[in-house]
Symmetry: C2
Subunit: 242 residues, 2 copies
C-alpha cells in the first residue's frame, strides 16, 4: 500500500522527518510537495484537508500522512505509526515509548530552533523581528544547544547496545530525526555545530551512521531531497555571526 505525504512545497521542514522514515523503510509514497498542482499536488492538496468541511479528523497543520483511509497528523504521531509498521521502532512497549519520548524531545529542540528566527510571531517576517531574533539566538546557542546536545549524547552513551543509536541495537525513526536536526544545525549555525560535534563523538557518529544508510544516502543524493534554504525550520543568517 502506498502512502501520501502532505507538506508545504519548497522546504524540507518537519515533513523531512517523515520522508527520512519512509525512505529508510523503502515504503512507496507520493510526496504532494513534489507534484504539480494540476496533478493534485502543491498547496491546494494541503488546503483541501485543512479547510475541507467534510474532513472528520482534520489536521491542524502539515505534515500529515494518508495511509489508506487513515489521515494522520502531528509529526511524532505519524512516525509512531510508520515506525510500528516498518521496523523503525522496537516492538516491546517500553522501548517503543522510549523512542516516542526521544522523538518528542527532538521535536522540542526543533521548535526552539525555529523560534530563533521567529521569536515574536509566525505571521511576521524575519526582518520584522530581527532584533528579538538576534537576542533569542544568542541564548539558544549558548544555553539550549549544549543542554539538548548533552542530553542526546548521554542517551547514546547509556544505550547498552553500544552501537551508534539512541535506543537499542537498531536504527529507529528518532535516530533519523536527530540526524536531520544535526544536519539543519550544520547549515544554520556551522561554527557552533562543528565545535559541538567535536566534543560529542556520539552525536557525530550517529549522524554519520544514519546518513550513510544505503537508502538514506541514495535519497540525500536524489532530486527529492531539497536543498537547505531560508524558508526552512532552521535558517542561516550571516548577521547571527556564523
Amino acid at each position: 500500500m502506498s502512502y501520501t505525504l502532505y507538506y508545504w512545497p519548497g522546504l524540507q521542514g518537519r515533513g523531512e522527518f517523515v520522508r527520512l522514515a519512509l525512505e529508510e523503510a523503502g515504503a512507496p509514497y507520493v510526496d504532494t510537495a513534489l507534484e504539480l498542482v494540476k496533478n493534485g499536488g502543491g498547496v491546494p492538496a494541503i488546503m483541501r484537508y485543512l479547510d475541507g468541511g467534510d474532513v472528520t479528523r482534520p489536521p491542524f497543520a502539515p505534515p500529515f500522512l494518508k495511509s489508506g483511509r487513515l489521515l494522520i497528523g502531528q509529526t511524532a504521531n505519524i512516525l509512531y505509526y510508520i515506525g510500528g509498521r516498518h521496523g523503525l521502532a522496537p516492538r516491546d512497549e517500553a522501548a517503543r515509548l522510549w523512542v516516542n519520548q526521544l522523538q518528542l524531545t527532538v521535536a522540542d529542540f526543533t521548535g526552539e530552533g525555529h523560534d530563533t528566527h521567529h521569536p515574536i510571531a509566525v505571521s511576521l517576517t524575519y526582518s520584522q523581528q530581527k532584533k528579538e531574533a538576534l537576542r533569542r539566538t544568542r541564548h539558544f546557542l549558548d544555553e539550549r544547544v549544549p543542554r539538548f546536545f548533552d542530553y542526546f549524547e548521554t542517551v547514546i552513551e547509556r544505550n547498552r547496545s553500544r552501537g551508534p543509536w539512541m535506543a537499542g541495537a537498531r536504527l529507529s525513526y528518532a535516530d533519523l530525526s536527530l540526524a536531520q536536526v544535526l544536519a539543519w544545525m550544520g547549515y544554520a549555525f556551522p561554527k557552533t555545530t562543528r565545535k559541538a560535534l567535536e566534543k560529542r563523538a556520539g552525536l557525530a557518529r550517529l549522524q554519520e551512521a544514519a546518513f550513510t544508510r544505503p537508502r538514506i544516502e541514495r535519497y540525500l543524493l536524489s532530486k527529492r531531497r531539497l536543498a537547505f534554504n531560508n524558508d526552512d525550520v532552521f535558517r542561516h543568517y550571516a548577521e547571527l555571526g556564523e
Copy 2:
C-alpha cells in the same frame, strides 16, 4: 499498582495534564511535588533522575512518571501510556492515534502560551524580556488563539458522537488537557478567553463537562490542586491589558 509523578513543586505546569488523567482514572499515585524533601519529594526527587548517572533512559525534563520499572517522560507520551491502561483513550488504533494527535496539538498551543511571557529565553526572568513579551502576546491573542480555538471547536463539531468531547462518545485524556488549557487561558487572559468561549459553544461545553466529572470536581476542590500563579505555564500580567 501505584504511580509516582515527578514534577516541579509550586505550580500546576505540564504535570497537571498527567494529574488530571490519573485523577479521572482513580489511579493511586504519589505526587512528589507535594511530598517533603525529607520524605523523598521536592526538587531533589526530580534531580536524581535528571542528573543520576545510572538512569538508563533519562528524561530531558519533568513531568515524568514511574510505573513499576518503567520511567516515562514527555507529557503526551505519559498520557498515551496512561490512556491505554485506564480507558482514557479509545481502543482501536485509528482513534488512539487521533487522540494522540489532538494531545500534541494541545501541547503546541501550551508551548505558544508559555512563550508569551518568555519569548527570548527561559533563563531570563519575565521582566528581562517584557518588551518582547508584550509584542508576542498581542500576536498570540489576535492570531494564534483564534486559530487554535477554531480548530478545536471544529473538531468537537465534527465528532459524529455529538457529545461534548473531541474524539468519540467517551472522555479522553486530550479532552482533560484541553479543559486545563482553557482554564489556564481564563486565568491568564480573562477578557479574550471569555469572549472566545462565548463564540465557541463547543469549547465552553467541553470544559464544563470535563471539570464537573465527579472525580475531577473533587480533585479541583482538593488541596492537591494548586492555585494558578505566575510561576506557571500560563501567567496573568496586568500590563498585557487583561
